[in-house]
Symmetry: C2
Subunit: 83 residues, 2 copies
């Protein structure tokens, strides 16, 4: 269990869920953020290291409060602090 | 209005609120995260650029789900995507 890898996976899944709920395509997100749609796909599958800035670009493009991207089951106590 | 500067300020305030609610000192947070207490103070006053990794260190030290650190009023639509 690696904290950041897991986090990227969960946040990526939320980005994808919200995008689909909004009937937006990855190309729409590319247009709104400047992030190449192939990269959007990688972020959604948790394969890219997310920065807070990128996270905010997605929140803005998806028109949601950033806390929506963290709306998943997550037991922080499972992880050591310095992971 | 600059998206990241505002975000840092709001998240910093949440870190401070939760820390005080937990009766933790900045020194406690230093011990748990390895982040110098003077730096903890700077993060809390929004004067430091937060990365997702640092954010997770705080969440873990405060024993809260990371979405708690985003639990503030925030109208994402006020900001342009590329800010």
């Amino acid at each position: 269990m690696e904290l950041n890898a897991d986090l990227q996976k969960y946040i990526g899944r939320r980005i994808s869920e919200i995008r689909l709920k909004n009937n937006q395509t990855q190309q729409d997100i590319e247009f709104l953020t400047g992030i190449d749609s192939a990269e959007v796909s990688k972020y959604e599958s948790g394969k890219r290291n997310l920065t807070l800035k990128t996270l905010m670009k997605f929140a803005r493009a998806l028109q949601v409060h950033p806390k929506e991207l963290f709306d998943f089951e997550f037991d922080i106590k499972k992880y050591r602090v310095d992971e």
